[in-house]
Symmetry: C2
């Protein structure tokens, strides 16, 4: 497994203040998606089908393959706000893992982790993702339905509807400043996409 | 399953300030254990073998039986600090579940849940406990080795070495103001108590 993070992440936002979510602004062509890389002020927009190649080529975000992968987030001590981002290719789709260090409460950074499907909300409902931390005889698992990148990662994190870690827990699960996050994607059982359309 | 909480919990401590941990003070007879009910200023002390009957009789803490139980913590909206406490009888031992609502950061209450063995630290090392929340297509699991009640529940919680929930996550997992916590105890694999003595 290969660690990846947005190297210039801290430079793009002021301390504790994230840019407004562009998804909530009017988009003239509903087929066009703004760039989904959370911490870059990137003017790009394009169709869902080319989001992956944009993220790879412009933002150099790696793709990991396989049903179960381990993402190693390094340099957890970096000041908030910082994002760690990886794409996960699995079951014929691409998912975006966002791990964010953010100070919701001033002076108390927390870590937030969630997965987004690079696809529509209806497609996202067909999957379940699992994030797992496992170290020092402790194990923490979070399972949920991924959101679509057409929704806003900022609002998922500000709602706290994701895996949330205090600094102390993050340290317990870290090894030498790095956090290994086990990621698994499964299809939701007895759930047909057609039912919802 | 029967819900239980320390009914008078809020009255015993000032807002946000928990009493100092008596376990850290000098105890003349090392065989004597102070009362382990976290939020009562109880002068009782006694041997480990009679802690369970003290908790039942004096503090009216219920015991649930079985390898896997569900504890329903009601009235999650009560102001911090509040404790919800239940005993769990399993595998020939009694465990104490402590769910605490506390404001580590002023104005931002969080929930902390941990299990303590009513026994020695060496005995505690033989077990693994699992706390599980499951609702709204989300699942959160925490697994760890229980601490002994001879250690201090306050320090476990202030260290953050337990299941930690922000208010937003607690609400996502709550139903009508109540939080159902699945609890399971297992013996740790290939681990002999004799090895450590």
């Amino acid at each position: 497994y290969a660690p990846t993070r947005c190297a210039a992440a801290q430079t793009s936002t002021e301390q504790g203040v994230l840019p407004p979510c562009r998804h909530h602004e009017a988009v003239h062509d509903p087929q066009l998606v703004p760039c989904t890389c959370p911490l870059f002020s990137c003017p790009w927009e394009g169709h869902l089908e080319v989001v992956v190649s944009h993220l790879r080529q412009t933002h150099r975000i790696n793709i990991l393959q396989g049903a179960e992968i381990v993402f190693l987030a390094t340099d957890m001590h970096l000041p908030a706000p910082t994002d760690w981002i990886i794409m996960h290719s699995c079951l014929g789709h691409q998912f975006l893992l966002v791990l964010r260090k953010q100070e919701k409460y001033e002076g108390h950074p927390q870590f937030f982790a969630t997965m987004m499907l690079i696809g529509t909300p209806t497609q996202a409902d067909n999957f379940t993702y699992r994030l797992e931390l496992n170290r020092n005889q402790r194990r923490l698992k979070w399972e949920a339905t991924p959101r679509s990148v057409l929704e806003c990662v900022d609002s998922v994190i500000s709602d706290g509807d994701c895996l949330v870690l205090n600094t102390s827990l993050a340290q317990l699960f870290s090894d030498n400043g790095s956090l290994a996050i086990g990621i698994a994607i499964t299809t939701s059982k007895v759930h047909s996409a057609e039912d919802e359309m």
